[in-house]
Amino acid sequence: MLIYSTFFQPLFWTVMGLIYAVLIVGARYWAQDLGLHMTWWKWLLVALWYVLLSFAFAGGFTLMGEREPKAGGRHLAFFLAIAVVLGALLWIVVL
């Protein structure tokens, strides 16, 4: 299966690396243009929030992949709700 081939996996993660590179550089420009006074710890909090968001999706879909659709959906809903609340707090209070 192509997805699990020794060719696809490294290619996939290389593309993901490029996507993250674009995201990081672009985010810096967005912060400057929005007039946000970013410090290292604010960037760290933003990064952690994005990791949490990614965890919500990655964990949920992993469980769906291993034939646990209900658990996957609940995992996604639970961590997505936390991510949304924390994201709003991050935007309003910190940034």
């Binding site: 997805i3 674009v22 672009g26 420009y29 994005y50 992993t62 658990a71 995992h75 639970f78």
Partner: protein, 526 residues
Amino acid sequence: MKKHLKVMRILLVLGFIVLGLSGSAEAADFNFRYLLKAASPVAALLGIVGIALAGYWAGKSFDSYTGWERHTHGAGMFFNRTPFRREKPTYGVTALASRLNWEDSLFHRIITLKSLVRPPDGSPPKWVPTMGLEKLPEPLKSYFERRPEVYQLTLKTFPLIERQRANWKNFEVQFAIADAWSNALASSYVEHDGKDLDSERLFPQEPKGPPEVWDYRGIRREKPLPFKSPKHASELIKKMTHSFGATLVGITKLNPDWCYQGFLRGVGPGKFEVPKSWEYAIVFVTPHDWDSLYANPTYGTSYDAYARERMIGGHLETFLHELGYPARAHVPPYYYDIVMPPVAIDAGLGEQGRNGLLITPELGCNARLACVTTNVPMEVDKPIDIGVADFCKKCKICAERCPGNVISDEDEPKVVRGYKRWEIRHEACMHIWASVARSHLTGCRICLAVCPYTRKNNWLHSLSRNIEPRDPTGITSSMLLWMQKKFFKYPEAREFMPPPTGRNATYHEPPELMQTDKWFDVEKTW
């Protein structure tokens, strides 16, 4: 495959969006800064889509099927046990500890009764339940006289077995593949009708003679080939055992307390000292097929792992004989002279769970055990402490979901024969084996399937299995347990049973491979 193509198409479309955005930026006023600004929200979205896809693929990947993955050479033994090694095993022991009698094992009692009721040579029954306790041969007679309640529970098994056989006609289409698959896997050591296979055809062969003769048979060297060191011996033997198909391997000095007394394979009943050549035990573990395990009690089997364990045991026994050392295989389903879980615990493979089974970091309870006893001087493994006992105190999922109320739901373990463990009502367990919708007595395995430790090897479960035992506060285990109980849907205990009590429920949907209506021209009535 179609799903994956669809996903690839979505990715491609999103890629074009990025290119489009970059193109429009260029047309207006090329500026790399604007380009990256425009692309970054799409990248954020793609990052989430990509990680979700990666998660989905990780969940489905065959490489997550520990013990059945595409790689071998011991790659399934991926948990780093070093930080968790302890001088003593975590099962509690009191001064009153004693060796187990042969007849203390439910399997041994049932096999003996079976051979009396249906003698293997086809002769008339030597005993039937109507003949009563007085006519039973020793040591069963004395055993049951001391435990009349166990005798009554044992008697109850026989009509249940008959009822199960009669009921099978209601399910023989629905579970046809699962039953045929299970019987096929068992055919290396039992006949299709459940009779024991001709002992000459068994591999490994059952002992015929005392250990000082049988364990040395086939040795063709005058002297054993000397290893460079005990470390070399254990390394080579572990690698070789993995190459024979074992997922986990551990080595321990054999504690004589774990050897049955009152019976020795190859010799029969009597009083025996533990043979000198059984100085060490090489313990090896293989799992059941993961997808069918989660669809127990009706779609799974014990025999996939049993068949592999038997082969590994036979091969390892022969390998050691070839090097000039005595060896004896102790293999499933009941060809053991020793009690396996504590020996595996001593060998550092895992800890004892509430359900009485070995719980390993890699496989949870999905771990079937066998070992080879030998006197090759080897470096031994230390036991581990990954916090199973504390987790089991809080969890109790196996006890709650067991249809036979077999597993103790007490908070603390009791002292059983001098060892601390949760009590298991073995006869009640056998009653469930004889009640689920199977063609004959093939087990249940629900407590293996629902255990939170019984998880495949993907990043999500690896996070849990690595973080939880390193958290001394117990907060992680409590959080994980909360999620386990809130996120995962388990059938009620009675639902695992056939109608009218239940609905033949399974924890997971049965794998496609086992669904009769997918492959055969039959009417689906279930």
